[in-house]
């Protein structure tokens, strides 16, 4: 029986993943996101544009890199709550690229 959680994609620094991107320079979470986007395109037939991605990460470097790559990103700390996420999401301008 398939679970809905099976549809959550996971990208970690496993041996296979590191071998796939052996010659690449790791830039924040961009390689992970690129791999995810490729899988969604192949298996689900959907093309995901850069500005249609939201990243939640505690590392400010990953956040800044994500924003350079046109994603929406929010730095997470221990004060995070649903009100903060709601405000962030409501402030996303869907028509404009970052």
């Amino acid at each position: 029986m398939s679970r809905k959680t099976d549809s959550i994609l996971i990208r970690c620094n496993t041996k296979d993943f590191l071998n796939e991107f052996r010659s690449s320079v790791f830039v924040g979470k961009e390689l992970h996101l690129t791999s995810i986007i490729r899988e969604i395109e192949c298996k689900r037939g959907k093309i995901i544009e850069a500005h249609r991605i939201v990243l939640f990460d505690d590392d400010v470097k990953n956040i800044l890199i994500a924003q350079e790559f046109d994603h929406h990103a929010l730095q997470i700390d221990d004060d995070v709550n649903l009100d903060i996420l709601k405000e962030f999401v409501f402030d996303i301008n869907s028509s404009e690229k970052i």
């Binding site: 996971i10 996101l33 995810i36 689900r44 991605i53 939201v54 009100d83």
Partner: protein, 154 residues
């Protein structure tokens, strides 16, 4: 006063009868027992009030998470990526967690638990709305198992 004459003040009819001058009767019989009504019990016990407050809180959190997911779709956000250590979890596993999964579940941030639960229930999940966990950790199996026990009803 009328025409310089002081009129007598009419006696008002007494509303209350005069107290009788009879002496009180003292009896040796046992006095009447007066039933004291017990204080009305509360309809809700303190434990019940706490449960109602907790369930109200959970309902409020779920409503907020639902609003977030609805807004993400309105804004045409197609992929939500969540980091693992210190983001999805309150702790850092250093990529080498060896403990019990149930213990790790205690560190699952409730904020993201509510959000992911709503995303999983969204009818567009897996079609126009996708969710991923991105981590520098190498423990992808651990993350998969954690998600399975965190969302057992999905």
């Amino acid at each position: 006063m009328l025409n310089g004459m002081i009129l007598p003040i009419p006696r008002r009819k007494l509303k209350f009868p005069l107290l009788s001058k009879k002496k009180p009767i003292v009896t040796t019989s046992t006095p009447k027992l007066i039933k004291i009504r017990p204080k009305q019990q509360r309809t809700t016990s303190p434990q019940c009030s706490r449960q109602m407050t907790t369930s109200k809180f959970v309902a409020g959190q779920r409503a907020k998470a639902r609003d977030i997911v609805a807004c993400l779709q309105e804004k045409n956000i197609q992929l939500i990526a969540i980091d693992f250590d210190k983001t999805l979890l309150e702790i850092h596993t250093r990529g080498r967690y060896q403990g019990k999964l149930d213990d790790l579940l205690d560190s699952f941030r409730s904020t993201f638990h509510y959000l992911i639960d709503e995303i999983l229930q969204c009818p567009h999940f897996g079609q126009t709305l996708h969710l991923c966990i991105v981590s520098f950790s190498s423990q992808d199996v651990l993350i998969r198992q954690l998600l399975e026990i965190a969302f057992p009803h999905s």
